[in-house]
Subunit: 342 residues, 2 copies
Amino acid sequence: MTNLNSIGEFGLIDRIQQASPAIIHPETVRSIGDDAAVFDWGDDYGLLATDMLVEGVHFDLMYVPLKHLGYKAIAVNVSDIAAMNGLPVQLTVSLALSSRFTVEAVDELYAGIRAACEDYKVDLVGGDTTSSRSGLVISIAVLGKVPKDLITYRNTAQPNDVICVTGDLGAAYLGLQLLEREKQVFLADPNMQPSLTEERSYLMQRQLRPEARTDIVHELRDLGIRPTAMIDVSDGLASELLHICRQSGTGAVIFDENIPIDDQTHLAADEFKISPITAALNGGEDYELLFTVRPQEFDKLSTNARITAIGYLTADPNQLVLATKAGQQTPIRAQGWESFQK
Amino acid sequence: MTNLNSIGEFGLIDRIQQASPAIIHPETVRSIGDDAAVFDWGDDYGLLATDMLVEGVHFDLMYVPLKHLGYKAIAVNVSDIAAMNGLPVQLTVSLALSSRFTVEAVDELYAGIRAACEDYKVDLVGGDTTSSRSGLVISIAVLGKVPKDLITYRNTAQPNDVICVTGDLGAAYLGLQLLEREKQVFLADPNMQPSLTEERSYLMQRQLRPEARTDIVHELRDLGIRPTAMIDVSDGLASELLHICRQSGTGAVIFDENIPIDDQTHLAADEFKISPITAALNGGEDYELLFTVRPQEFDKLSTNARITAIGYLTADPNQLVLATKAGQQTPIRAQGWESFQK
């Protein structure tokens, strides 16, 4: 018998891919291996993505408000559609609920779901609600569309492409550290008032209520730019860059001083004695977009404050390095994904 | 604060429906309230259904083989597509797994998933695999298609339509009773050999490895019959008939002696001192199709051994009765759905 942890995320996905039956419908263009499956629907490509959030693994109801959780569940799924350069159209929400949930709690969760559906212009079309012996489980499936000439995969990047990232990285991870610390303080003394101040609000918001970057999808279309590859940053920059490089057969050099990190992230990283670069590389849950563009296209983006060039792709698939200003290079490794719980 | 059990299944679904944002995409034809959501994809309607199976609620791994569970998870989702008179095309599988699962266990589960995908001719196109603090959760989303002139809803039945059901009912429920009894015997004395004999195999198979009736969808098409309404029997005949009547604004009379019940179901019902009619009405998990046809269409079906006429619809929405040969009528009530677990 083989422990699940021993084969890791990539091992399990490879195994599932091998165990999958052959694709029989010609309209199925891509299946497992990208942010969403891709279907040929005539004028457009159809997209289908799914993500499951499990209590005690992805969220802790001691500090996650249900309304934010509902919003986040939608945003992280929409983010997968954005990562294909697409926009969401419909989604379903399945919930497993234990009896400790009240009707009012379900209403709160749906208030967040509704707000996110409105923000991302997606129709809530169905789902399933069942009971659970233990915690809350939220499973979302989202359908999207993308014009055929704009579809963006992970495996089509080329050497010399400029590596770009939207927004800033590492904040969601430090938001989580702050919330976890508050929880420990509260558990030690339930009379303590939370010390989370206004100045930390950005980090908290990034953890509790992330946004999917559909705004960037619109912006790239307006600028007439189709990225050569794209992925969303759910597991940390290192892991996502590794996916693009592994699937495209390229290497990458990124510059540590170029990685966009918010001032609040720097401050909190100091306090927790965490390198902000490590938080950006391995923290995860930022839900920004990581994409590559041809060097000649990058000029159109260079003045955009929401997009930062952080490096370039190389022809050597064994080269995946972080370079400092001083010229020092260190290999990047993906820390990988949460292990299976005991 | 309001307990979830106090509002019940219908109450919760109504509440979720009211909390849903307005539909904004013209291609969304139907959302919550049928077996699947319906989209206008040009030549065909697209269908999207989702169902979640939760350990300890929907299955007990003490007696459910993982391979059968994988098969069943697919079949119950495909059944929702069949209930719209459609056929499945693609699906995604999301799993939450605890560390007690081995790689070999995941392989077993996928062997069943693969077998079902092959049987129902559906492409497995993606999913999500995550860890779980407690039990196994399987969430499936399935896409299907149906020619526009064949789509079959729940709310379009008319008075005088003939009520038909495929296969037989109640067997899955008695299969569950047998398996639960064996479990108790085993827990009392782990050295006891199981007494489940060959002659009980049909009941066990109905519980552990049900089939979706896509064969009936093909057959109806071959006969040129479009049902006036259709639903799959997941929660028991009473509950499904109530859905059709409530949504179509009709009543119904069904004849107890016409309800198709297998001999094995009769024998086991005797043994457990359960009325086989009650098992058919409220047992659930048979995954047969319940549908209505215009009286003049029924002739084309009357010689089909896999389809049984069990009654007819009436114009009085308050009339929902079970009639005996002797002419006695008793009201049918849906026992409803599992309550939320403590």
